[in-house]
Amino acid sequence: MRSKALTNLELTESYNLPDQRGHFGPYGGVFVAETLMLPISELTEAYYRYMKDKEFLAELDYDLQHYVGRPSPIYHAERLSREMGGAQIFLKREDLNHTGAHKVNNTVGQALLAKRMGKTRIIAETGAGQHGVATATVAARLGLECVVYMGSVDVARQAPNVLRMKLLGAKVVPVESGSKTLKDALNEAMRDWVTNVDNTFYIIGTVAGPHPYPAMVRDFQAVIGRESKEQMLEMTGHNPDVLVACVGGGSNAIGLFYPFIDDHEVAMHGVEAAGDGIATGRHSAPLSAGRPGVLHGNRTYLMEDEDGEIIETHSISAGLDYPGVGPEHAWLKDSGRAHYVSITDDEAMQGFHALTRLEGIIPALESSHAIAYAMKLATTLAKDKTILVNLSGRGDKDINTIAAREGISL
């Protein structure tokens, strides 16, 4: 069963987006400068070829099992569920992966692709630093040069991850332009890519960017949902009633959702960061409070002002602090297949503490948004209903942020 879940890479049959040029309805596409068109078409060609290549898939499966530690378990959070007094909360334990988050599922895949394509240099953007660490990790293992762009605000608030990347041999470049967070790191990585297209592979960390990234990152992350389907069947005898995941760019959410898209009885709830509250304007919730536009190579919901300039976002969690969202989520929202909600910084902190105290699991601040929402949702559902939450990462990286917020000196 273990290997079946892993090798079952064929795509869901009836839902078959994106189209050939990467569109999910009006969203997605390829909106980039001319110099990137050739490397993007080479990447697209290589990606679709290798996703059908038995040897490539076998190597990917091997790495996911033996290097990442898959499959990740599902855990029934019984005390937390009892405390809420409603639906049963289950956790997909992506926090137990090597490097501590779901991000590595994708970097292992893209790095194998980079190697197949003969690229010698890897670049990445990172917000929380989890994707940067996961990229530096696979680059170290494959002996590839690695440069990670990170907004200087994030460099300050995610210091432990900066050190981890450096120890792994990556060069971490603080980005001082714009809002100095994830979106600016992405801009800078794009500039690097356009300058070094011949030898460089850009490993994007979420389901954003130009096609094929949203589809490719989704397909690498879909192992989460494929495993979950089998595991929940084994544990409960049926599909979960509701899937819950936090949404920054949206990779852990789509990884969980995608294999369930055609199972219409399964509800899907994506949780954006409401920061200080949607009404304050200080948040990172484009699906809840933004409008469609074009940024970072695709059309999607964005946080922008009335002139189309991207506005600064806010979230306690660096990994959710992004003004855009993967184009497939924009489509799932418009089509009504998935439902998007938001959780404030304060609520996320409550979710963080609840899981830590009741279950002995310290979640990442990003994942704490999903936990907090699932706790609220559980109280509205009957005890025989099941909610599966993607616990996308562990919280060790966030202890400095939490200490500062709660006035604890280390």
């Binding site: 400068a33 794009m190 300058t195 070094n196 970072h296």
Partner: protein, 267 residues
């Protein structure tokens, strides 16, 4: 025939190369832009590319990024850039103006709304860095109807197929990006440019203006020989930045640089 095409044909008949300066609208302040445009025309500019500032200028190097930030700090926007063009046209009905920027402000205004306003104020061409021809099927017919030229970028790694396609869809001129990199980069290789331009000429008869890496009178002269003209951006924007608050110094510096380029192009 569009104002751009007419201008470039006249130059060709006179055996001259086009000099196309780029500045970011609203940098260092909105009041600077229109007078600077007039001065640049006096100094020998044939076409003006006016940068529309954007919060996330992914294809730009640090010099033009900072210009965008300065302009945005003054609340410059696509709507206001259009008003600057209207003001410029009060005194100059001859010099073509091309808006250069990113797609999102255009999406935000709405394609048809943007095209109508651009036509009304006298914009001649638009160059949208992150809108390749594949994603332009909605906007192109609107531009065509309004008589505004869509200008596409070609790069050192553009395939023959894409060059031919942009030759068909483009109007006015094609902008050849002389190197793989962002604006303001300087690793220009003339031999590579010459080879690529030869390839492009076989596939299209549109004029080819070459930009990225044109710094001074010498590079302008050398690069212009390979195509139909040069675009100079970061070198001018850098002068504006260095002058700081002293906008009359900025005006003097950019017109000096353009005059020297004009002389070397004519030589």
């Amino acid at each position: 025939m569009s104002r751009i095409t007419k201008t470039l044909e006249n130059l060709k008949q006179a055996g001259r190369k086009a000099l196309i300066p780029f500045i970011t609208a609203g940098d260092p302040s909105p009041a600077f832009t229109v007078p600077a445009m007039h001065e640049m025309v006096k100094a020998g500019a044939d076409i003006i590319e006016l940068g529309v500032p954007f919060s996330d200028p992914m294809a730009d190097g640090p010099v033009i990024q900072r210009a965008s930030e300065r302009a945005l700090a003054h609340k410059m926007s696509l709507r206001k850039v259009l008003e600057l063009v209207r003001e410029f046209r009060l005194q100059d009905d001859a010099t073509p103006v091309v808006l250069m920027g990113y797609l999102n402000p255009v999406e935000s205004l709405g394609y048809q709304n943007f095209v109508d306003k651009a036509k009304e104020v006298g914009v001649d061409g638009i160059l949208t860095v992150d809108m390749p021809p594949e994603e332009s099927s909605e906007l192109l017919p609107m531009l065509d109807k309004a008589g505004i030229d869509p200008i596409f970028l070609l790069a050192p790694n553009s395939t023959e197929e894409r060059i031919a396609k942009m030759g068909q869809l483009g109007r006015g001129y094609l902008y050849y990006v002389s190197l793989k990199g962002v604006t303001g980069a300087s690793h220009l290789n003339l031999g590579d440019v010459e080879r690529k331009i030869k390839e492009i000429r076989k596939l299209t008869s549109l004029p080819i203006e070459i930009g990225f890496g044109v710094k001074n009178a010498e590079t302008a002269a050398a690069v212009s020989k390979l195509g139909d003209g040069v675009v100079v951006g970061s070198a001018l924007v850098g002068k504006i930045e260095s002058a700081g608050e002293d906008t009359s110094l900025a005006l003097r510096d950019i017109t000096d640089l353009l005059s020297s380029m004009r002389k070397s192009l004519n030589a």
